[in-house]
Symmetry: C2
Subunit: 364 residues, 2 copies
């Protein structure tokens, strides 16, 4: 039941018939997805935005918090919250998704936080530009990567660590990366990284380091656990795998009608049903959303609306002329680089999985 | 997997070896508990407070929302939000707990929202006194119960319904029941009942009807699903059972040290460890908290602090002189009516379960 892994051990994959364990349930009770009816809102309110905390939430005092920016730079910076707030304010509306979204729908199931479809949310994040802070510090010739360390501390597969992730220098200075202190116009709530976190538009959640304390410019490649071990697309335990980076395209539909409490199965009245949802991609803009009411056999294009920003999800609508019967709705997004798969893109840790959502519906 | 129940069918109890189902996981991914490190805060911030939504979150327009108060009264009231806000403001700090808290730790496990220990939170709620609204409407002679109907709609064990619960008239006019429009000083967030919900201090969560639309004074006993079928303490499927009402005493400890990501098992450094937690009861004030580091074999009294209000949890502290080894911490609360049990108080639906928390800890 409590299989603490030793250093170097791979993440576990459940047996084909193995049900959800108490360990997985314990994570599901702490972390949470966005109830899909909240897709209706452009900005996800605090408390509905998905949340994944690797270890414990640190409760930090904003009055004594400091950010140290050092390493391979000309002038290391040590900034308190007031110093960050004095610098030019930048805001971006960003759709954020957990790299493990969809994991618990895979067969066999990688054992970790057991997300279904709902590990997503969109918020307006405000802070300083990371590029401008790096410019201020003066990145020295020969810099390769930039690492970001948080205050949260724990053990993962036998490795004790403060949560730490790195970006290449080119990813760190491009793409509107923010050192953020506000979410939806209010100071960050504790669970979303108070007082300060990283926001890396277009990337899966693991890059957006929360409870940020240190930024270090490195003259060599970063080899920390979260980049080299945890967030990799591995075919098997021996595969070093490719790193997880930008968000794959995904569309979701607000489940129509009303649910059964226990099964969440939907009931809809016959007639025209206005389906509504969102679609996003961190690779390139979403260009098409298609809907299927026959479990992916046939597809029809939905009407795409405009995104609030280049990093935010796009709304889409589709009118379904629903006749009595049982249906499985599917929805898929495409961007300039391809279309979301109907079948599962499996990997050892269930990362960057974007298999299409399936919503069973009874029309009465 | 998707066992939709027919009207009248009882809730299901899992087999002794049956693991968590996809249905249960689906509920756990939507609803969420309070990460236990948030016990440190007197008031639980939005997004960390536990959340249980029976059906879907309705997104209501506060500008057009109305509350109808009618039935067995002299003068029915129809109030918009501005009319509610014009009436005297009352605030209470209230600890709220789901009646199903602890359910997934029971053996055998009742199949429903699979809470472990964390379905709790404390907030300051502000609104109008229900008693004063009832007085204004003029409750007529012969009134027995008062029912509260929300906007959320769904099916539960085959019964289609808007969520509706009743209190006896005497419970409705006593105990500082609020028709609340603010949580922690801000308008209610959508998931906590916006724009208006009921707050029934001291009672489990099922009584605090969210997305309130109708209050009806009844001249006969209420026999709706949520009172007569759902929230009952049944020994077996044939037992009509007692209704679930006030919160049983419970204490929780902030798990000390740091966790392993997957198992949440704790590691603590040897030496004095300051344990901190909270204890509450809806029956009568918490009078004692005891701690055990040997899985309930021996107990020592903790230091109890003052509650923020008569309806809020009390903080407690305990200094543990931790020596290297493996331990199971337990904590239990007592009120004027008795002590929290170490063994499971089992019933068919896992309601009002207050078995003591167990926290496995390795001291190094």
């Amino acid at each position: 039941m409590t299989d603490v892994l030793r250093p170097g051990e791979a993440a576990r994959v459940a047996g084909m018939d193995e049900a959800v364990s108490l360990d997985e349930l314990r994570l599901a009770a702490r972390n949470h997805g966005m109830p899909l009816e909240a897709l209706r809102m452009d900005l996800t309110p605090t408390g509905l935005h998905y949340l994944l905390v690797h270890y414990d939430i640190p409760f930090l005092d904003p009055a004594t918090w400091r950010l140290e920016l050092g390493g391979h730079v000309a002038t290391p910076l040590s900034l308190d919250l007031a110093a960050l707030r004095e610098r030019p304010r930048v805001s971006h509306t960003v759709t954020l998704e957990c790299a493990g979204n969809g994991r618990a729908r895979l067969l066999p199931r990688p054992v970790s936080q057991p997300w279904l479809d709902e590990a997503v949310g969109t918020a307006e994040w405000t802070g300083c530009s990371l590029a401008s802070l790096l410019e201020e510090a003066g990145v020295r010739e020969g810099a390769v990567d930039v690492s970001f360390t948080g205050h949260d501390h724990g053990t993962e597969r036998g490795v004790e660590q403060d949560y730490c992730r790195a970006l290449s220098l080119s990813d760190a200075v491009a793409g509107d990366v923010l050192v953020a202190y506000e979410m939806n116009g209010a100071p960050l709530p504790p669970q979303h990284g108070a007082p300060v976190r990283l926001i890396v538009p277009g990337w899966y959640g693991m890059a957006h380091v929360k409870w940020l304390r240190t930024i270090t410019v490195l003259a060599e490649e970063f080899t920390g656990f979260q980049n080299d071990v945890a967030y990799r697309l591995r075919a098997d335990a021996d595969d070093p795998g490719e790193p997880v980076s930008r968000i794959q395209p995904r569309a979701l539909v607000v489940p129509p009608g009303f649910p059964d409490f226990m099964t969440r199965r939907r009931v809809v009245d016959a007639g025209p049903v206005e389906l509504f949802g969102r679609a996003w991609s961190g690779r390139s803009p979403v260009s098409r959303v298609e809907l299927s009411v026959d479990d992916g056999l046939t597809w029809t294009e939905a009407d795409l609306g405009a995104a609030a920003s280049r990093y935010a999800w796009r709304p889409w609508t589709f009118t379904w002329d629903a006749l009595p019967g049982d249906y499985t709705l599917c929805v898929r997004a495409a961007d300039g680089d391809g279309t979301q798969p109907v079948d599962q893109p499996w990997n050892m840790q269930g990362m960057a999985n974007n298999m299409t959502q399936r919503v069973p519906v009874t029309v009465r």
